[in-house]
Symmetry: C2
Subunit: 522 residues, 2 copies
Amino acid sequence: MSLSRRALIHLVGHAGGVGAVYRTMAAMGLLPIPAAYAGPPALPPGNGARVLVLGAGIAGMVLAWELGRAGYEVSVLEARTRAGGRNWSLRAGDEIVETNSMQRVRWGTGEHLYFNPGPARIPWHHEGILAYCRELGVKLEVMSNDNRGAFLHDDAAFGARPQRNAAVINDARGYVAELAAKAVDQEQLAHPVSPENRERLRDFLRAFGALDRDLVYRGSSRAGFVIPPDVGQGTLNQPLDLRQLLLSDFWYGRMEFGESHQQAATMMQPVGGMGVIGQTFGRKLGPVITYGATVTALRRDGEAARVIWQDMAGVAQASTAQIVVCTIPLSVLRGIDADFAPEIRAAIASVDYVPAAKVAFEAQRRFWEIEDGIYGGISWTSRDATQLWYPSAGIHQKKGVLVGAYIWSDDPGNAFAAKPPAQRLEDTITDDEVIHPGCRAHLRKGVSVAWKNVPFSNGAWAEWSRDARALGYRRLLDGDGPFLFCGEHLSYVNGWQEGAVRSAHHVLGQIADRVRGAAAQP
Amino acid sequence: MSLSRRALIHLVGHAGGVGAVYRTMAAMGLLPIPAAYAGPPALPPGNGARVLVLGAGIAGMVLAWELGRAGYEVSVLEARTRAGGRNWSLRAGDEIVETNSMQRVRWGTGEHLYFNPGPARIPWHHEGILAYCRELGVKLEVMSNDNRGAFLHDDAAFGARPQRNAAVINDARGYVAELAAKAVDQEQLAHPVSPENRERLRDFLRAFGALDRDLVYRGSSRAGFVIPPDVGQGTLNQPLDLRQLLLSDFWYGRMEFGESHQQAATMMQPVGGMGVIGQTFGRKLGPVITYGATVTALRRDGEAARVIWQDMAGVAQASTAQIVVCTIPLSVLRGIDADFAPEIRAAIASVDYVPAAKVAFEAQRRFWEIEDGIYGGISWTSRDATQLWYPSAGIHQKKGVLVGAYIWSDDPGNAFAAKPPAQRLEDTITDDEVIHPGCRAHLRKGVSVAWKNVPFSNGAWAEWSRDARALGYRRLLDGDGPFLFCGEHLSYVNGWQEGAVRSAHHVLGQIADRVRGAAAQP
C-alpha cells in the first residue's frame, strides 16, 4: 500500500474536523451487521382465544392474517365497504366520498390507469410489507421516484423557470466539492502532509464534484447537455448560478430527497396499483371481515371489552372479546365514545394528523414522456401543488394518469380540503402549467382526495410532536386493559405501510404475552 | 425578499471561487432550452434508389426501416442467423458461440428468465432508441440501476467487508459538506457578510450533507440503520471512517456512478429483455434482411459498390448498389478485403474495442432479495468480476437470472476471454462469494459471453483515443465513395444503442443529400 495511514489521519483530522466521529468508531470503521428481518413474532396456540380487530387497513389485516394462521378466533369490523383503508387505488367507476362532496372516476380502463390517493411507494428496506407482498403473491415492479430528468421549480429562483433535477443537483454538488477543496488547501498550509496523500484527498473531491484539474467546478456532463452527443460531441449546459440556488428553496428537502432513508432507490410498487395489496388481503380473509360496520362505542365489560357498532343496515350490534385491537386512526378514535383511561384519552388527543391531499387527471397524451423525456418520478414546485408524480407504469401507452398535486403541508393542505372539487382541479392545473405549459389541453376528468375530509380517516397520517411522543406514545403502546392500539400512528415509520406492519407485529407480541400469561395461570 | 443579492454574490464569490463560472453565465443563470429531439431526417423520394446495408444490428435496422418507409429499395445482409447484433437476450435453449467454445443456455423458462449479454439499459434521454421502442410497440419498464441498498466492496478498505451503497455515498457526502462549511467559516473572517446570508449558505450545506447544528457530520439516517425504526426509534449506523473511504477506490467512478449522464435515473428496459427490440425490428423488416450472409469483399465498381458475400449454403454471391452502408464493427471490418482509400483503412485500424464480458447464472432462490433486500441495481467489487447485476424483473419470483460479473476493463477482460467457460464461472462465483457468502449453493447453469471472442463482433464497443477521434473519426463519417459507415462506433455515445440510432440518422441525412444531388443533375 502506497499510503501512509497515519499521515492521512492527520490530514483528515485537521482539515475535516471529524475527530468527534472517529472517537465513536471501531478501528477499521466496520459497519455493524443490521439485524435480519425477524418476521412476525411466534404465537402460542390460541386455544379458542378470541380477538376482535377494529379496522381492515394494513395493520388490521396483518393482525387477522397472522392470528388466523395461528388458530385464533379473529374477526374484523370495517366501517368502509372495502378492505385496505388508506391503501387504495382508484379506477374507472370508483367513488370518492368526502364529508362535503362526492366524485366519481370517469377515466378509461387499463392496467396502468389507476391512482393511489394514499401510499404509492414501497422502499427496498420495508421488509415487513415486502414480505406480505411475497406471501400474498402481489406482483411488484420497480418505480422511478427520484428522477434526474424531472423538474425543480421555484418562483423565487431562475426567473421561475423549471430546472432539470440533474442540473440543480450536480451543479450544487460541484460547488460544494469546490468549497471543500478550498478547505483542504488552506489547512495544508498549517499542517503539511506528503504530496501523495494530499493528492488522494483532492482526487476524491475531484471525483465527487466533477471538478476540473484545478479543483474548480466549471460544469459537467452530469448536469446535462444543451445539445446531446450524437455523431458530434454535444454541448454541455452552462452551470447554474449558485446565487440562484441559494435564493431558491430547492435545497430544503428537495435536492437531497433521493438520498433520504425512506426515498432512496430501489423504490417499488405493486403492478396495477397499491390497492392490490389491500384487495388481496381482503379477499383472502373473506368472511373474517364484516364490512360497513361503524364503531360507535367502546366499553369495558369486566376484564373484557364490548364494542358497540352499527351494521350496514343501520342496526346496532355489540361484540365482546377478551382482546380488542383498535387500528382506528386517532383522528377518528378521539370522536368515539370510549371507556379509556384519562391518560389514554389525553394521548389520543395529542396527535396531529397531516392534511395531505392528491389530485389526479387522465391525460389523453403522455406529454411528459413525449415532450419532456420524463419517465416516472417527481417534479417539485414552490407552489401549493408541491409535487407532480409521473406514472412509472404504462410507459409509452396512449393514456396515463398524472398526479398533478401532492400536498402535505398544513396550510396548503387545509386550504385545499376546504375547496370544492372543481376549484381544486383548476388551481392544480394552474400550478402544473408553470412546469408544463400547455398541459391543460391534455388533462381531464380530474379527481381529488383530501384525506382530512375522508370519513373514517380524518387525515392522512399521524404526526407526533416531540412532547406527544415522549408522553402519550409509550402509554398508547402499552394498551388500556382489553384494548390494544395499532396502526402506522403507533410506529416511528409514520405515513408508511411499513409502520402499520411493524405496529401489528408489536401487538401480536403483546397478544402472545397475554395468552401465555393466561395459560400459565392455575 | 429578505436576502441581499449583492452580499450573497460577494460571499459566494470570495468563499467559493466560482467567479470563472459566473463570467460565463447569463445574469439570471437561466438554462438554455435543450434542442428538442428532431427524429430522423426527412428523406426525398427514393425514385428507385437502391441502398445495401451490411449488418442487421440496431444501426442497420434503423436505416432499413426509415429507407423502406420512404420508398427506397433497401436490403440488408446479416452474417448471423438472427437480427439485433449486440442487442440480444439469451433464454433457455439459446447457443453462445465463441471462436473457441460453444455453450447452451439450460435455464428454466419464464418472462423474467433472460440475460442481456450486450446492452441492458435505456436512459431517459436516449430519445432515439426510445422513439423506436414506442413506434415498434416494445413495452418498457423502469429498472433499478443505482441502488442504495446494493453493496460496494473493495479488498483494500473496511477489512474487505462489503458496505451498503447508502452508507458509503451519504457518509462521504457528509464529510465533504463539513469540509465545505469549514471553508465558508474561514473566508468569512476575511470577508464579513451579514449574519443572515452566512446562515443561508450554512443551511444549504447542512441540508446537503445532513450536518448537525454545528456543521459537523455525525452520521445520518441517509446512511441507514443498524436497527431500523419500527415501534421504536431505531439505531443509526455509525458513520464510516473517511480514512477507509480514501483508502478504497469507491470514489473512483463508483460512488458517483448514479449521477453520471448515461447512468442517472430514470433507467428503463424492455419487458422480456433488451433483445425484444432487435427481434421486433427483424420481424417487421422480414425479407428485407438476408440472414447467414457473410461479407467477404467490398469492391469499387465505377461509381457503385460491389459486395461479395457467402450465403448460408456457403455459395459466393455478389450484390451491387450505388450506396452501401457498412455497419460492420471496425474490429471485424479491418479483416475484410476492401477497396478503401488508405486514410479510411488507417482510420479503421486506429480504433480499439473494449473486451467486455458478462457471466449469468440461474438462481434457484433470489437470495439477494430475501436475504439482503437488494431489488435490482448493481453491486461493485474491486475484484475482476467488477459488477454484479440484480434483475429488476421478476421481483419475488422463485427463480432469477443473476449477472455475476460484468467486466469491461482491458486486462481483466482479455484474461477472461482467454479462459474456458467453466473456469470463467468458477472465478466469477469466487468473486461473488465475497459479496454474498454462500451464494455458490444457489447459482447454477452459468453461461458467459466474452465479446472479444464472438464472431462478427470481435469486441464489445469502440473506444476512440483522442488522436484517433481527431484524425480518423471525421474521415470515416464522410464515407468513401459509395461506402458510408455507420454504427455506435461512429458516434460519441459509444457502447450504447443510442449511438447506433444517432449514427443511422446521420447516414440517412447523407443519403438524402446524395439522392437530392443526383436528382438535381440534368
